[in-house]
Structures are given as C-alpha cells and as structure tokens.
Amino acid sequence: MTDTARDVLITGIGLVSSLGEGIAAHLDLLERGSAPQPVIESERFAPYFVHPLPPIDWSTQIPKKGDQRQMETWQKLGTYAAGLALTDAGIPTDESVRSGVDMIVAAGGGERDTAVDALVMERARQSGGSGAVMNETLANELRPTLFLAQLSNLLAGNISIVHKVTGSSRTFMGEEGAGISAVSVAAARIAAGQSDICLVGAAFAAERKDLILNYEMGGLLLRSDWRSVFARRAPADGLAIGSVGVFLVLESAEHAAARSAPAYAKLTRVAGDRGPRRGEALAARLDDLIKGAPADDGLLVLSGASGIEAPTAVERQVLANTLPQAPVRAYGSLLGHSFEAQFPAGIALAAATLARGTRLPAFDSGEESPALQPARAALVTTVGHLQAEGVCLLEPVGPAGETR
C-alpha cells in the first residue's frame, strides 16, 4: 500500500471455532483474565487432537434446507461464517447492496464420501484392482451433488447463492498461503480503488478422516500428548488441527463513512512471501515482512504458528530479536491449526482485541509473557506449516471503532 492509498478498515467479522460462535463470544472468553481452556476432541480421532466445531444451528445463516443439503460441513461452515460477517458489518440483505460486494475465499477441497471410498477399496481387493470395477462402483454410488460439495470454488458459489454477494467471486487455493493472499489482494484492491468493499475469509473443517490421512502421510500431526503450540518440541511436535470458519468485511474508509459503519481496526500492512525454509532464509524473509511494526510494548503479536517446532522456533527468535517488548500469543493453542483460515482468523482476533482494548491473557503462561497494557497496534503472523509466510499489521481506528 502506497502513501496515496486509501485506508482499509475491517467493518465486519464472522468467526466460528471450537470456542464458540461470533467474534464477541470469543472476546468475552479472552477478557476473563485467564485464557480459556481449549476445546479438544481427543477420542474420536485418537491418537490425534482435533478442535471440533461447537453445536451450530445452520438455519440461522443458511435458512433454506435445500441449500444446506447441497453442502457438506466445510461449505456450510464457510457460508455460515460469511453470513455472520455480513450481518456484523450491517450490510443489508437487500440484493442491490450485496451485489456490489466483492469476495475472495481461501479454500481447500470439500469432504469425500468416506463410505463410498471404503466400498471402492473393498471391491478393488476382490477384483484385483480392476479399473472397470472401480468405475462401476463410483458411477453407481457417488451422489451427484457431492461433486459440487467438494469443489473448491463452490464455497464462494454457495455464499453468492445464500447471501447474494455477487460483485465478484474469486477463490484462492493453497493452504496458509491462500489465506494470506486472499487478505492481501482484497486489501490492495481496496487501497488502490479497484474495490470498495470485499468479503474475505476461509473455512477449514477439521473433523475429517480424509484430511487426517493426508496430514498423517506427511507425518505432521501432534499425537499422544497435547501441549500449547509454543511448548511443542520435536519429535513430539506437530499440528492439532481445528475447525474454523472466518470471514472479514474489508472496506475503504470512504465507503464505511458513507454508510456510517463503525470499524474494528485499520489494516496498515498486509504482506506475504515464500521461499526456502532453511533457518536463515526464513528468518530473513520474516525480518523483511515485519519491518515497520512499532517496536514497543504497545504492540501485540498474534502468532499463527502451526505447532511444527522448526519454523516456529525461527519465528519466535525473529520476534524476540526485532520486537522484544511485544507480548506474543499463539492463537493456534486455542483454535487449533486451520490452514487457509489461519491468517484471517488471527486478523479477526487482532481487530476485535484492538477495538475492545482487551489485555489478552497468556494462552500458555509458561511460554508467553503477560501483556502490561491494552495493545495500541497488533501484528498477525502466519508461518505456513510447510510453505508461505504472511503478516498483517493493524491499528485501532479511534472512538467509532472502540464502541463496537
């Protein structure tokens, strides 16, 4: 963003995680002086840890049963969180207004039909791996609508259908980097006058054995003992995945003022990069990304560290060297790791924390130092579990925002 750029505000947040529903509910939990206990499912996916979804009445944001039937949990979660964000931002449901809202979704893929997959494997054993048998089984057993529930861009498609957001629709893919690029492109377009208002976010549904299989193939999952993100040490480190639906309404200051919309916070820098993960290369990129962050105790760092020790150690060292006074909070300890949703979820928490003037408790008092005062600025970091790094710097917007 250049000097002549327009200010980019966050005027709406929709957040659903294992801790509950709505950004206000999350902040309420964080304002109690000590950090909330994470909600962790340790039986159903043992030996792994999954931060599960809370009970959700989908009908409150996806009123038509017909729409709900077209989606599996991942798309419903995103569509639901998008609805929360639009409602929170006070965007009227009037189609003429919503048709002017742009959208960027960071998406993975939707759920597979695990029963059909099991049947295909069963029959493959009997038939000696016959392609003909596989084709017949898939053709007879797959539900036609499931394909649409699996397609990455159909989360955005469902948001258009359910919430009438049709200004534009773009879906970015690629784990944490997709979330970083989504926020970064949305903010850059608004700053440059290419867009006035944009719904941006992601969903990650963690309670999925088809995904757990992939992560276990990568040897990435935390197992046996749960510890906070910063307390995980190799070889007992890894990801505790968490279901998160998060959407932000980003808006130019002019557009927000014209409709008298209060804001949570202002985005002053969003940037991403990637490259080799050798310690010194990663440290150099992170150094470059966080330059410009105010190096004083008024800065709060919300780290999206994944729980994999090596990159997390590099990130913590860079933060300790560059921003030694800033308290750091690894929000993955509370929400779990949510890939595409990781970066926007950190921004959601940061924006609301600034708006309320909350002094965040340590999420693990053995690893994180206390915040001596409410933050005057926040830095959100996300170092992807294997690739991609991003930062977002936020500032409060003043009295209007504080009333939120």
């Binding site: 189609e95 797959l142 861009n153 970015f172 690629g174 193939m217 991403g272 990637r274 991609a388």
Partner: protein, 428 residues
Amino acid sequence: MSESTTDFRGRPIVAVTGLGVVSSLGEGVEANWSSLTAGRSGIHRINRFPIDNLRTTIAGTVDFIEVEPSISVSRSHAMARSAGTEAIRMAGLDASDFGGRLFLAAPPVELEWADRFALDAADGDAPADAGYDRLIELARQHPSPATYDNTRFGRISELLADELGVRGLPVTLSTACASGATAIQLGVEAIRRGECERALAIGTDGSVTAEALIRFSLLSALSTHNDMPEKASKPFSGDRDGFVMAEGAGALVLESLESAKARGATILGVIHGCGEKADDFHRTRSKPDGSPIIATIRAGLADAGLEPSDIDYINAHGTSTPENDRMEATSLEAVFGEALRSTPISSNKSMIGHTLTAAGAIEAVFSILTMRDGLMPPTINYDNPDPAIPLDTVPNAARRGEVRAVLSNSFGFGGQNVCLVLGREPRP
C-alpha cells in the same frame, strides 16, 4: 510515466509480451496455432486408464508429456512449466529468473486412487476393514511426505515459483471454468496497482481421470458422442450434447507497457480490460435472464473503454453444452444487439475440448494470435446450426480478417464469470 503508456483512465497499459500453450493438439504456440487454424481436433478415445463402465470414453488428454508419477498434479505442473517457460522465453526474459509475480489457475487436488490402493495393500498393524481408519493407521507406519505434497493445493505454484524464478507469494486460484481468465485479471490488476512491472498468468489442468469423468457425467455435463471423438464437441450446433473434458495449459507474460517498451520487448498485444460478475442463481446453471453474464460482458467492455462495435471477434466460452451456448448467445445478443449476427464468434473448444481451469488462459493466448495473424480459428463440427441461436461461428474453416479487439468469455460452475477484452495494440 509518459502519457503513451497509460490508458483512458490513467492506469498503466498492460501489454502481453510472451505466450505459451499446451493442449491435446501439441506442445508450443506454433504447433497449436497451426493445428487450430487448420481446424484439427485433439479429441480422442481415452487410453491412459480403463474406460469400462464410463458413459463418456473420450477426452482431449495430453499424453505426449511423460510425467512421474502419472497423476493429475504432476501433469498439471509439467504443462504449466512448459507453457510458462515458452512464454517467458518469448518475452525475451530468463526462464529461470522471471522476476515478477505468478498467478496460477490450477485444478483442485486430492489424494489419488492409486495411493489409496497402495496404502490399503501395505503391511502393518491396522484394522482389516477397508476404509480411512485402516489407511490412517497404515500411513502412520508408512509415512510419505512426497505423497502428502501432491495433496497440497499450493504445491504446483511452489514448484513453478522456484523453477521459473518468480517473486513473492504466488497465488493459486480457482474460479472453475473461468480460472484462466481470473489469473490474467489478477495479473492485470497487480500491474495497474503498480505492485509489479510484470506478472506471469498461467492456467493449467491435467485432471482427466475416471473419477472426474464420472463426477461430470453424474451432472449430465459431458458429451457421450463416443463413436466419433473428433466430432463430439460441437459448440452452437443443434445436436450439441455436452462438453468434452480436456487437458492443457496456457501462459501469458503480462507487463506494463512502459516496462516492455523500456527493455525493447515485442508487444504481442494488450489486455484492454477485464470484467467479472458472480451469479447467485444455482450451483451449475446460469440465472435464466442472463443478467450476470450480461453484466460481466458490459463490465469487461467498460473496463476497456470500448463499445460492442469496437469488438471485431468474440472468442466464445462455447462449451458445447445445451445450456452454456444458449445462455452465452442470448446474453451476447442483449449487449451487441443486431450487430452480433455480423460479429464473428468461434469456440476453440470445438477442437481442443474444455480444458476447464486452463481454458481462459489458453483462449486468451489464441485471441492474441488471432489478432497477430488476422486469422480467426473456426468452430469445427458446425454442420447442424442451432436455429435458436443464429451466429457467425466462423464455421469449419479459419477466416482471414483484421481483428483489432477480441472479447474472450469464460463462465464457470459456481457462477463465476469473467470476460477479457484483448487488443492488438496499445490504445492510449
């Protein structure tokens, strides 16, 4: 910035300085262009995997690029690398140090069936019943980070970023069948914002598999004219019965005109404008009144500062499905009026099939070549015109003619629509 390198709104003009393409017709711009303008079809009977019990047994697969393992991710990557390398070299740049951003339209990825079968057959202590509980136990005993890498949606762009020397965090995107055009749009926007002097926009899709064919068949989207593969894709014909899945990649080097001129690059064409509008009607069908498509076309023309009368040729989305071709024609008529009848419009998909994620990028490459050579590729298999949508489809044989501006349409499942307006030369 000098006046001659900005457009009517004072934005940097975005030039195209490099092109690359792979399709079932071949590898490289010249191989593709000569076949396309000769009206040859790349559609054939599938022989890469068993086709027993499939309703559709034809496709435009790319089988001449060997990849290991033979899976969608490797194929999509190899084709993107080929097209990207060709485009960067054509632009006169170093194909290992491109130095700009990457916007990659790539297909969604999943674990492949071969991997599930191999794991199911592996030794280990695991439940006997077939299913994910067994696979997860076995994966713990036989971890394979390389297999995991092939399930990551960002994998292809990471590989390309290192191989081609792009800068920053690459964007991998999907807007279904509009993806290739969205990649170009993102590049155009980044250059207009002044974020970079050049960007590489690639669309790639190597995802023809049995399961993919079955999924599209279950939506009744595919042609079942299996007996004469090269005749199956017949956009705008009365007897069209669905699209033909295909593979390929298209790549464009986008560059600010100022930068291109400063380094003496050949200007192959320009991107005058991009328009988009999402549809909120249905997951696979367009709003019956065509309003989102109409709005997309109008937005593209407005962004370009052009009128319908300025468009000399339309590169159609033209999938050969009953629904798309009717909606595209009626929506174009709403914008162009009577002039549509005399505006040539052809569908590359009649020859290369529907390359899905790659289509918008491949068709943008062909649109630039159309203007460069003053040669409009035909719509082949146009033997039985649909009387409901009378169009000048450049039937069956390429046609010479001066083309200064092209409208290229891309409409996706999930309601994502993008139109590009491409020009032969800068129009300050």
